[in-house]
């Protein structure tokens, strides 16, 4: 156990000596009985709930609570006696001048003897994230998806036998917990000046260095799961999703842990290549789609955003080739997942402007040009150089709300208008084949936009 929350009972002195907190008759409080960590991933925040047994006397009790060298937000500390809620009250918390990392609690109790209490507070320095490993089948029609939860502790505190929960969700925070932990006055000063304590070892460069080392260790770890995987209980609360890891964990300071969350084989996937100049430039992007639903053997829980490494099986012996790494977004249950693998080399889309002419000029009273039609003949050339059939989407944006399109007969069933200046073509292309989408686009400029 490092510096953590030291709690010591102080016998309440004479009523009037309010100003000097003399430490008379120091009574040590037993260690925490139980600890629960609830770790967030959208902010550097962990809710710690610990159970301890305090020996209280009737009347006022004084207790010192210390958090020196930890990353705890002192304003978040709360004490409750769940079994004696009406009889035990935390009346006052005082943060005296010049006493670093400690507060004095005044607890009023109607009962004497051991009282189980719950102490909750926020700490920074513990984080978790989701990590995925995907393995594509040889024909790229199925995906094996393994999900992991990785926890890292740089809080300055060792957590032993802690029951651990991780939370997915985007929380609204006014202040960073790490900044609150460093204030010299927990609530700042009335004049707005912010005093800061010197950085602790768990902060700053040390922390970043440790994170980097963890990343490396994680890469090495990534192919192997724990021998006996723990189960993870999953449930939704408000806008959050809670993963409760079975049993308890020891997470010493500066340590990390990876726990397997799920392993699903044979998820049917949809391969798609998309061309959209405004989004991707002149490259065709390769995408994989599947839905987070029962049909895809998923749909039990939202999938938190995280890093995903994708491999592809290249032979019947299960040898692998590395396809790439993507960052996934958070995917609610029933939503489709899009994985963008970036530029594709083997599927090409090239829009070619075959001709451009103008017509239907209009002139204003001064004889200047007031409007005309711009007529463009386009041929979008598509090539599939792969050994499997592929679906291709071609998006075109006209940057003009006034247009007409004349699609060639071959485009029938492939064309869809999306909004006032966007259209989409969807084409399925057999292995090693080519095709062309042809259309004539008329854009109306100036006065011609007001034609009847």
């Amino acid at each position: 156990m490092r510096h953590f929350i030291s709690t010591a009972l102080l016998i309440f002195g004479l009523g009037i000596s309010n100003s000097s907190y003399a430490k008379i008759d120091l009574v040590t409080v037993p260690d925490r009985d139980k600890t629960q960590l609830t770790i967030y991933n959208s902010a550097d925040l962990t809710l710690v709930r610990e159970q301890r047994t305090l020996t209280l006397k009737k009347g006022l009790n004084r207790l010192e609570f210390g958090w020196e060298n930890t990353l705890i937000d002192p304003t978040s500390v709360q004490l409750r006696a769940p079994r004696h809620a009406a009889q035990v009250r935390l009346l006052e918390v005082s943060y005296p001048k010049g006493v670093k990392g400690s507060a004095i609690w005044t607890i009023e109790s109607d009962i004497a003897g051991p009282v189980p209490v719950e102490i909750t507070f926020f700490t920074s320095g513990i984080s978790w994230h989701a990590f995925y490993m995907g393995t594509l089948s040889k024909d790229e029609q199925h995906l094996q998806l393994q999900g992991y939860v990785t926890i890292r502790n740089y809080s300055g505190e060792d957590y032993q036998n802690a029951s651990t929960r991780v939370i997915v969700g985007k929380i609204h925070l006014l202040d960073e917990i790490a900044a609150l932990a460093r204030r010299d006055a927990p609530y700042n000063r009335p004049d707005g000046t912010i005093g800061r304590l010197p950085m602790t070892l768990a902060s700053g460069a040390m922390k970043r260095k440790a994170y980097r080392e963890m990343d490396k260790a994680e890469e090495r770890l990534s192919m192997n799961d724990a021998v006996a995987a723990k189960s993870i209980i999953k449930e939704g609360l408000s806008e959050y999703f809670l993963y409760t890891i079975e049993g308890t964990e020891n997470i010493p300071n500066h340590w990390g842990k990876r726990l397997p969350s799920f392993n699903i084989k044979n998820i049917p996937i949809r391969n798609l290549y998309r061309f959209e100049v405004e989004r991707y430039g002149n490259a065709t992007h390769r995408l994989i789609y599947f839905r987070n639903d029962k049909k895809h053997q998923l749909g039990k829980e939202p999938l938190p955003g995280g890093k995903m490494k994708i491999f592809r099986e290249i032979d019947s012996e299960g040898h692998l080739a590395y396809t790439g790494q993507v960052h996934t977004k958070y995917i609610p249950v029933n939503q489709e997942i899009e994985l963008d693998f970036g530029q594709a080399r083997e599927v090409k889309v090239e829009p070619v402007l075959m001709s451009e002419k103008t017509e239907n000029y209009q002139f204003n009273s001064k004889g200047n040009i007031a409007g005309f039609d711009r007529i463009q003949e386009w041929e979008i050339k598509l090539e599939n150089n792969r050994d499997i059939p592929v679906d291709i989407e071609v998006w075109r944006h006209f940057h003009n709300a006034y247009w007409d399109i004349d699609n060639s007969v071959d485009n029938k069933g492939k064309f869809k208008k999306i909004d006032i200046d966007s259209v989409k073509y969807t084409i399925e292309l057999p292995p090693y084949s080519k095709t062309t989408l042809a259309y004539v686009l008329t854009k109306y400029e100036g006065e011609r936009q007001n034609r009847r």
Binding site: K97, I171, A185, G236
Partner: protein, 381 residues
């Protein structure tokens, strides 16, 4: 009691009444008493400044007494210092105030008709001492009720330690507290349980991206709780001060999770408090403009368009991936002389540049909302 370190009152007795006109520096000869402070009241009702009133008993001599009041190292606003004679206001009189050079002090000349004890009240504005209010709240699993605990935080960085003093708020009874210089204290202020809340989601077409699936990160739809400061909610006794509120939710397993924090505005009685809790990524809103045309074109003699109307159609798709029903507000910024032609759902005109839809969406469902509107008299100059 050692709290009185820096704020001092000294009474200087004079050798004889003939010396009234003697220079004040010469007159500071003899320290008569160092009166203790009594009945101190600290008024925290004005968020801009804290008023301290304290009473003291002076042992006055017959004639003019020089009473020295100094506040070295204490954040006293020197223009705000007032002296009130309480014991014999008709006989004992304040006749003069002088300010010694280069010192945080002043000297009161107090005339007393005889040697006596006189009660005075000194009041002054003290800076760097104030109060904050914070809230801790816990909601049930269904997010319909909130149990709120409010805390008062006293912060004293004024340079002066205050012994037992009466702290007075803008309502209700005051309370006795001591607080040292440099100290902060958190106290339970009040509690209100079973406060009804309504939860809603808000998409603002003027702020949020219209095509969330084209974004690299999830678009969060803000989640709000709303509650009313009224008697039904066990509140409504006084205005709720603005302050950081941390909201937790009962996890149904004897514990809780933290679901977000916000700093609500000052909320008078019977008014609504709105709390921004977090962002939902289980509500997805996609907006598209599907139609645009110009109508009623008017031209000038040179055949130039000077006036026209614009007709547009918007299509908004709202998906609820949650396993609970959701109330979603759709805010649409409007401009010019707009009028709605047709909508698929009822709307409210909020003001001349905004309209709003409120849609209740069942669990795991999707709905498409459309509206067609005209902006009249668009001028081209």
């Amino acid at each position: 009691m050692t709290y009185q370190k820096t704020l001092l009152i000294l009474i200087i007795s004079l050798l004889s009444t003939n010396l009234i006109f003697i220079n004040a520096a010469h007159a500071r000869i003899k320290l008569v008493t160092l009166p203790d402070r009594d009945n101190t009241t600290v008024r925290l009702d004005n968020p801009q400044a804290t008023l301290v009133e304290e009473e003291r008993i002076l042992n006055l001599h017959k004639g003019v007494n020089k009473v020295d009041f100094s506040w070295k190292g204490v954040h006293v606003d020197s223009d705000s210092i007032r002296l009130k004679i309480i014991g014999h206001p008709d006989k004992t009189r304040l006749i003069n105030v002088s300010y010694p050079p280069n010192s945080q002090s002043l000297v009161w000349d107090i005339y007393s008709p005889r040697a006596q004890q006189e009660k005075i009240r000194v009041s002054y504005l003290l800076a760097n001492i104030d109060r904050l209010v914070t809230y801790e709240a816990i909601t049930d699993k269904d997010e319909t009720k909130l149990d709120i605990s409010s805390y008062m935080i006293l912060r004293n960085f004024s340079g002066e330690s205050l012994g037992p003093a009466m702290f007075q708020l803008d309502y209700g009874q005051g309370f006795m507290k001591s607080i040292n210089d440099g100290e902060s204290k958190r106290m339970l202020f009040y509690q209100a349980n079973q406060v009804s809340i309504s939860k809603s989601f808000t998409f603002d077409a003027g702020k949020h991206p219209w095509e969330p699936n084209k974004q690299d990160t999830n678009v969060g739809i803000p989640v709000h709780y709303e509650l009313e400061n009224n008697k039904t909610n066990h509140l409504g006794k006084h205005a709720l001060w603005g302050g950081k509120m941390r909201i937790y939710q009962d996890d149904g397993r004897g514990g809780s999770i933290f679901i977000g924090e916000d700093k609500p505005a000052y909320t008078p009685i019977n008014q609504k408090m709105k709390l921004y809790v977090g962002d939902s990524r289980d509500i997805v809103v996609t907006q598209r403009k599907t139609h645009h045309e110009k109508k009623n074109i008017k031209r000038n003699r040179k055949n130039r368009i000077i006036l026209h109307d614009e007709i547009e159609t918007m299509q908004i798709t709202i998906e609820n991936f949650k396993d609970k029903a959701a109330t979603i507000n759709i805010i649409e910024p409007m401009s010019g002389e707009w009028e709605i032609i047709k909508t698929s759902h009822p709307y409210t005109r909020k003001h001349h540049q905004q309209m709003e839809f409120t849609i209740k969406l069942p669990a795991k469902s999707k709905e498409t909302l459309t509206y067609r509107y005209v902006v009249k008299n668009v001028k081209t100059i």
